[in-house]
């Protein structure tokens, strides 16, 4: 059994298109102030955006490493073009950093090199995790859709693998060759003029009855609700999960990271943590349905919270 305090935090890649300076300053502040152990950086959603952060990559890597963080380079979630494959291959050849696979092509290219598996690769069972481990995967972030019953099975079968779960952030639900974000603003992918940059936390998709539902992030569709497994951390740790992924939203991620660290360290109670998290990221409701094998959009309160909700 893992001790809560032996756990680590991973900051996932920024899925959204942020201004280059904002992206740089965000990571500078993470380096200086956030209690995360590793940071995954690099464009993950759309290869057209890659040039925005390139001028700042080196200084961000340096700042994060000086602060003692492990830097992991992200790869694209959907690779269809030659230049996209080529870019991953070149990165694998020259980079001294660990890389994270988000697509089958990266798995092929990274074979026999130590690498990590991102939450966008379909790892639904232990045989698949074992296969990836045999090819060089050192840490596997399980898909957000995975119920706890599956997480437990997988971690039990591979006790030596470092498993991570998607603990905070809007859930990456789908990716397409088509850009719904550009389409919604009267453009298509090829002449998009980077309109996704106007929505640093995603563009809300509401139902015709004005229910908040999803958000567009370029070719990616994310949930409106924000996954939070803050009140499930103890169960996850007990099941052998060692690392927890925080996926950046447009909010104070330093505070979000501190809060997760405090709950893991036992200095803040999970219920108080959830209440605090709702304030830190008020843009969306919290959800943990996938963990409980229910609709991903729902929030399942733990028993003691329910009890607390009863009038005395």
């Amino acid at each position: 059994m893992t001790d809560m305090k032996e756990t680590s935090l991973t900051l996932g890649p920024v899925y959204y298109l942020w201004d280059a300076e904002k992206w740089r300053d965000f990571h500078f502040r993470i380096a200086d102030e956030a209690p995360v152990d590793r940071v995954v950086i690099g464009e993950t959603v759309c290869s057209k955006r890659q040039h925005f952060i390139e001028p700042h990559l080196a200084e961000v890597v340096e700042r994060l490493e000086s602060a003692g963080k492990t830097v992991i380079l992200s790869t694209l979630a959907l690779v269809t073009l030659n230049r996209e494959s080529k870019q991953i291959r070149e990165m694998a050849e020259v980079s001294e950093h660990l890389m994270e696979a988000n697509d089958l092509s990266a798995l092929a290219i990274l074979k026999d090199k130590p690498h990590t598996i991102g939450p966008l690769v379909n790892v639904y069972n232990a045989p698949t995790a074992r296969l990836l481990a045999g090819r060089g995967a050192t840490r596997i972030c399980l898909p957000p859709e995975l119920p706890f019953s599956s997480v437990k099975e997988i971690t039990a079968e591979l006790p030596d693998m470092d498993f991570e779960v998607f603990t905070f952030g809007r859930m990456p639900l789908a990716i397409s060759a088509r850009c719904a974000h550009a389409r919604s603003k009267g453009k298509i992918k090829d002449n998009c003029q980077f309109v996704c940059g106007e929505d640093p936390d995603g563009l809300p998709v509401r139902t015709l009855d004005r229910q908040s539902f999803l958000a567009l992030n370029g070719v990616q569709t994310v949930s409106h609700a924000c996954q939070s497994l803050l009140s499930e951390l103890d169960h996850l740790v007990e099941a052998g999960v060692r690392s927890f992924r925080l996926s950046p939203q447009d909010c104070d991620m330093v505070a979000v990271a501190k809060l997760h660290r405090e709950v893991l360290d036992g200095t803040v109670d999970a219920d108080a943590g959830v209440a605090k998290l709702r304030q830190l990221y008020a843009a969306a409701p919290l959800a943990n349905g996938f963990h409980h094998a229910k609709e991903g959009a729902v929030w399942v309160a733990r028993t003691r919270s329910l009890q607390a909700a009863w009038p005395a």
Binding site: L78, Y124, E145, E153, A177, R206, R210
Partner: protein, 325 residues
């Protein structure tokens, strides 16, 4: 090019064989395949009979085991693979690496096809599956243009199969949790998308509202035909506009591009629709077979007949045409 046809029932299977399918694909009646709908699919005995019938007529049978194995319940998928092999399936269509590894090791002689659900969308990914599991064919994601397909064909070491007619996924297949976000049931884990068990229609004033789980997927004013609330084909509010945010309720039809697909090196054409009835299967398969056997300049009337059979009669060439993106 081979014509690969769907069969959700033994009756549709027979129709597809009789109508000239080169291969028919189908699945077992459980969570191992991505069309796990009530009343569809095959028992072991039905598959035995179907394969025997197909063999007599010189038609191949592909068995889809193309969901992702539920952790701790892998035996269900392993048993499915064992039975399909024993019953004489000509190929298994697989999506899960763990299952591919199992089949490649246990049944090295068995033909293994990569399901569209595996989302192998580029040469590196496809060659990885060829090298690791001896995959013989890949069903390409519906996210590629014909130019992309031609380029991929030059750089891979297996055959290519593409969807040409029927339902159209807007999202990269096998990588979509939209359905489970709204209903708790997903293509990857349960073999269903936007399942009927979670669909509700209600009247609101003069409008018909279609819902999936707790979410409104569409509202139809009086006089407008109401469609099934498949999540990604719904109408939504975005910024100041509302409409079909991801895709209109259209279906895929790239039969007009047969020559380009052939030139791109495509080995097999796939028809979507294991959920369709036997009359539809018979009609679509025979018409497509006739189109394939006709010279290009004689195909127009056949293709027009096909189009009239499409869902809502509106079709798109989808990602095969670059401007769709």
């Amino acid at each position: 090019m081979e014509l690969i046809c769907p069969a959700g029932t033994p009756a549709a299977f027979h129709e597809a064989v009789d109508a000239g399918a080169d291969a028919v694909y189908c699945g077992f009646r459980d969570e191992t395949n991505a069309r796990n709908f009530p009343g569809l699919n095959f028992s072991r005995e039905e598959l035995r009979e179907a394969i025997a019938y197909a063999k007599r007529k010189g038609t191949q049978t592909f068995v889809a085991l193309n969901t992702f194995m539920r952790a701790g319940a892998e035996e269900i998928w392993y048993k499915g693979a064992a039975d399909a092999v024993a019953l004489g399936a000509d190929a298994l269509i697989l999506a899960d690496f763990g299952l591919m590894a199992h089949v490649a090791e246990k049944y090295p002689q068995q033909r293994l096809h990569v399901s569209v659900q595996a989302s192998a969308s580029n040469p590196d990914a496809i060659n990885f599956l060829v090298d690791a599991f001896n995959a013989q064919r890949v069903v390409l994601p519906r996210t590629l243009t014909i130019a992309d397909i031609a380029r991929i064909g030059k750089n891979i070491r297996c055959e290519m199969e593409v969807f040409v007619f029927g339902g159209l996924c807007v999202m990269a297949e096998g990588r979509c949790s939209l359905s489970s976000y709204a209903t708790g049931k997903s293509p990857n884990m349960n073999g269903v998308c936007s399942p009927a068990s979670h669909v509700r229609y209600r009247k609101d004033g003069g409008e018909l509202v279609s819902e999936l789980g707790e979410f409104t997927i569409n509202r139809f004013p009086a006089g407008e035909a109401a469609g099934y609330p498949t999540l990604c084909k719904g109408r939504f509010d975005i910024a100041d506009s509302n409409g079909y945010a991801f895709e209109d309720p259209v279906s895929l039809d790239v039969m007009g591009e047969l020559e380009a697909l052939k030139a791109a090196g495509v080995k097999a054409l796939k028809i979507e629709g294991r959920q369709r009835g036997k009359a539809y299967v018979a009609e679509v398969v025979s018409t497509m077979k006739a189109a394939l056997n006709s010279p290009p300049d004689r195909r127009a009337p056949l293709l027009a007949r096909l189009r009239s059979m499409s869902e809502g009669q509106k079709t798109t060439s989808g990602a095969y045409e670059k401007r769709w993106r």
